[in-house]
Amino acid sequence: MEQQDISTRHTSKKAKVRLAKRYAFERRFKMFGILAILISAAALMTLVYTIAVKVAGVFTENYIVLDVQYDEKIIDPSGERKTENFELSAFRKLVRTTLRENFSYVPGGRQAFPLYRLLSDAAILEVRKHIQANPELIGSTEKFPLLADDVTNLYLKGYYGTLEKLPSFGVAQPVGTSDTIEVFVQSNSLNVILQAKKDFMAKEIRRLNRQVRAQQRGIDEFNKRILAAETDQREQDIAKFKREVQTYTSRRDALQKEVSDLKLRIKALGGEAALNKDIASFFLKINGGMVKVNKISPDRIEGVVYRPLNSDAPAQEGQWELLVNSKPENDRKISDQQIAWIEKLKEQGKIKEIGNWRFLTANFSREAEQAGVWGAVAGSFWTMMITLLLAFPIGVTAAIYLEEFAPKNWFTNLIEVNINNLAAVPSIIFGLLGLAFVIGVMGVGRSTPLSGGIVLALMTLPTIIIAARAAIKAVPPSIREAALGIGASKNQAVFHHVLPLAMPGILTGTIIGMAQALGETAPLLMIGMNAFVVDTPTWFTDTATAMPVQIFLMADFPETAFQMKTSAAIIVLLLFLVVMNAVAIFLRQRFERKW
């Protein structure tokens, strides 16, 4: 290399370029780091946001408070007061009768079912439980809060649209008070509905036109293929393609006819329009009744009476209302009729919204409004107890033996490598092991916290052993020497001095392992802990399920209310984890010693 003046070695231009490169690398590295953090933060925020939005609907539940008359003839016709013999069907009848009393205009039989569906089945069970506990109430009347169905509950919370007032002017004159009636309105208030109908039809035309274009593309494509086939003289293909063109053409023509029909109907709308279930629902509130609008013309509506009118007297401006639920009936689980009933109950102040403790204290149920997580929480608790009782002592003693006592040879090396590998084994494999060995050979009951706990303990063991070995290794050898130097035996040195110092690390590792086990689903599915469990497990050998499995099961239900409860259950699980981590931090600080 060329001789260089020493004083310029670190100040030359080349050196400056080198330095600039080094800084550029540093800046790039920092930027990537910040980017990575931002991306993960955004992902986390999205998760929290989704859960938070969904969970908002779970905090409260709605009750319909009605005067229930505990009719002896229905509940206990024999008059013997044998509470254990009280039939559920009798209470179903009682609750239904009570509902019918509030809506006397609803015809009985099949037509009353939508009314009954406003309430949860739990209401019936709860009335029975109440009467079984207090049979002296039979014969009396009492206000009783009846649990609303999940759909009712969601409507009340605004998930199926809310009724909004539209501006309504002029005098409205009803003709008739029940069934199908007409109402004449002397103003242009109804134009809103007409416009909504027009907008809807225009949207429909756009949709159909898109389909027409799609069919046209099909026709063009096959025409091209026919040309190609003709040059190659593939007779069979030509025939086939021609058939295709025909089908596409007929479909296109049908769609085009629909479009032109729609266009004609829009033109004719000046006169009259029928509303269907694909556009917003309009209601007229007049003379104490409620009418669902089915047909509309500029000065007149035709509709079904959902709540009978008191009279057919003309209603002055301000005494009648035009209401809209902008969510089309076909897009929601609750019918316009049911909305009319619920609104009535709301007006009468018979709806009560209270904190949803049921979610935390109830067990699982197929009915969304009744489903809770308590059974799963208890199941997870017992499972975790078994896991901790097995994995912690075994893991820590194994770690102590391997780290402090075992000779270092090929055999212990083999064991060490295998323990590290074990930590990376997919958890489902442990589930298989559990199924084959714990349940098959050991004969532990399926679906019990005992079998689940044993499997999860096997899964957690390597984590605990690795963490404990690292913690024991981190204890300075001077402490061991100090103990040995004054004549402590190896055992005493380890248990009196090394272990207490390693404890914080061991506990942290244990809690990490336990948290992992708490969130584990796959192995529990293998050993049948995804059973539908209705009773709270009270011991290791009771049939049980666990939190993550419960969440998995809940997520499988299509109901909106179940989706919400899934999110809420996830939050409960996260809280569990937060508590466990808090315990870990507390223990770590409690045991931490400086040297």
Partner: protein, 273 residues
């Protein structure tokens, strides 16, 4: 009985018993030490006298610490270490099967290079040895042992108000004296010190040296040191190790003023090491 009086009485007794010539407390004959295939000590013969200080000097890696750790079988802890030859503590060959290393270490205590108090209270640090050896049956007895040990280690006056505070909160020199107190609490016959002052400042070093001087009245002390001044100050006998061999041993005066071997001469005059 007043502890100071006890101590004085003991000291008087010891002075009476003290023979003219030094009795060998520990004798090492043909000690070879291997770490795996590597031989660290070659046929070391050394006598350690009772109630005096023997210092082991030599350059780094010469085997002096290894030899020291043979004296209470601390080398047993190292898997690959093998010791041949005989080392006797009075009449007992300490490498014989009948000798339990745990018991031996109670008789031959050790103080390490870096102060290593247990991360526990001062009291517990000193009380641990007597507790595990069953030397104190009651709480008050234990308190007496702890107090006496701390007095002997010259630490009592400094820590008597905070016996239950962590031993790790003391200064470096105090921690080392605490370790000495911990070692003498089990009443050993021999105390091994592996460079006990190398992590300390000169003032703390002076205190430890003073302490060693006092302790030699009751104990047999073997000290490894890098400081030749220290060896000259505290020890009566000195052994010089070089490359795993015991080059020369003798009265400290003689080693430092009139060494026989050229290597000793070179080392103490600072030509290597």
């Amino acid at each position: 009985m007043d502890p100071e009086l006890t101590e004085l009485a003991e000291r008087a007794q010891n002075e009476q018993n003290r023979p003219n010539g030094h009795i060998a407390k520990m004798t090492a004959r043909k000690v070879d030490v291997f770490y795996g295939d590597k031989q660290a000590l070659f046929a070391v013969d050394l006598d350690v006298s009772d109630r005096s200080v023997t210092s082991l000097i030599g350059p780094s890696g010469c085997g002096k610490s290894t030899f020291l750790r043979c004296l209470n079988r601390m080398n047993d802890v190292i898997d690959i270490c093998r010791v041949d030859g005989t080392i006797k503590l009075q009449e007992d060959n300490i490498y014989e099967k009948t000798i339990d290393p745990v018991q031996l270490r109670a008789r031959v205590g050790m103080v390490f290079q870096k102060p290593n108090p247990f991360p526990k209270s001062i009291f517990e640090n000193v009380a641990y040895g007597p507790k595990i050896h069953g030397m104190a049956t009651s709480k008050s007895e234990l308190e007496d042992v702890v107090e006496n040990s701390l007095i002997k280690a010259g630490l009592f006056n400094e820590v008597k108000d905070r016996l239950y505070e962590p031993g790790t909160g003391l200064s470096g020199g105090q921690q080392q004296r605490l370790c000495i107190a911990r070692a003498i609490a089990v009443s050993p016959e021999v105390i091994l010190m592996d460079e006990p002052c190398s992590a300390l400042d000169p003032i703390a070093t002076a205190k430890i040296e003073e302490l060693i001087d006092e302790l030699k009245e009751n104990f047999c002390i073997v000290i490894v040191t890098h400081s030749m001044q220290q060896a000259a100050r505290v020890s009566q006998k000195t052994a010089f190790f070089h490359l795993g061999k015991l080059v020369e041993e003798g009265e400290t005066n003689q080693i430092f003023t009139n060494p026989v071997d050229q290597r000793t001469q070179d080392y103490i005059t600072g030509r290597f090491g």
